[in-house]
Symmetry: C2
């Protein structure tokens, strides 16, 4: 069965999440899921996904089922151990509550100190972009068949928090 991995990376967890949601997938389908995702944190680069799935297979967390087509595709799905590992990853409180890497928050402290000529145009552009993303997210929520409704709402809430913060800051 291969030795147990002590911990999953964020990408590995995300990939296994896709497998749980969609059932057995080829690596390409996982990549596609990453790319199509509204909240795309992962580029879904082949150089990350293919090795990651093989790694998980080697660790006994996935089972591979070869497809008999000319492309020699492989359908991966969660093994029992994989399902357990995914649950453990999902319920890792310390990591779930952690901050991650937020480009907005990394930059925010310094926006107040920008040369004012630059600051105005930048803030306008930023707000415009955030609003556009918010609109796109709302669009998705409008679809009656939207999957991951909760996740999309979370995404929306986060963008709105950013917008609200910018607004509050501006007023001061």
């Amino acid at each position: 069965m291969g030795k147990r991995k002590s911990e999953l990376t964020e990408l590995e967890g995300a990939a296994m999440t896709v497998l749980r949601q969609l059932g057995a997938c080829t690596p390409y389908q996982v990549r596609k899921a990453f790319k199509d995702s509204p909240s795309a944190e992962w580029s879904g680069s082949a150089g990350a996904v293919y090795p990651a799935l093989r790694r998980l297979k080697a660790a006994g967390l996935l089972v591979a089922k070869p497809v008999k087509d000319a492309r020699r595709s492989v359908l991966y799905s969660l093994s029992t151990a994989g399902a357990d590992a995914l649950d453990a990853w999902l319920t890792d409180v310390a990591r779930a509550a952690g901050i991650g890497i937020d480009p907005f928050r990394t930059r925010a402290p310094l926006w107040g100190g920008l040369p004012s000529a630059r600051a105005g145009a930048f803030k306008r552009a930023l707000i415009r972009t955030l609003r556009a993303e918010r609109a796109a997210i709302r669009e998705q929520l409008a679809a009656p068949d939207a999957p991951d409704r909760d996740a999309i709402e979370l995404c929306l809430a986060l963008q709105e928090t950013r917008l609200k913060w910018l607004g509050a800051k501006r007023k001061k």
Copy 2:
């Protein structure tokens, strides 16, 4: 002056942010700033910080001033080109509006599908942790001399958004 770097990494930008805020710093001081930061996204590992600062120096974005102590320390500060690069990094709309890597949001879509025996205890632990962090952040805000007040408020707003989302989800 060295050749121009096309783009700064998040850590490089964060390091230069520290230099702008504190003035000339040794690598160790930058590391300390990362570790002390309330919103610590970076471990401030020596293996990242020392090479990063040398990289930026080589690119002409920092100036190095040797200190005449037995430790052969070096004080780094922003060059003119470095200040420009930092401004460009700060005002990179696409990146600032991007989502980054958010462990909470990566996991959130699947919490609904957890075995219910596990889900309850996990959610309680998660809420407890988030509340503890919120309290810690409020603590910082209570200090009258708190620097980066805006940034801390943003941190607080984000944690509250998470808590609110969890609460809303629970009700449904």
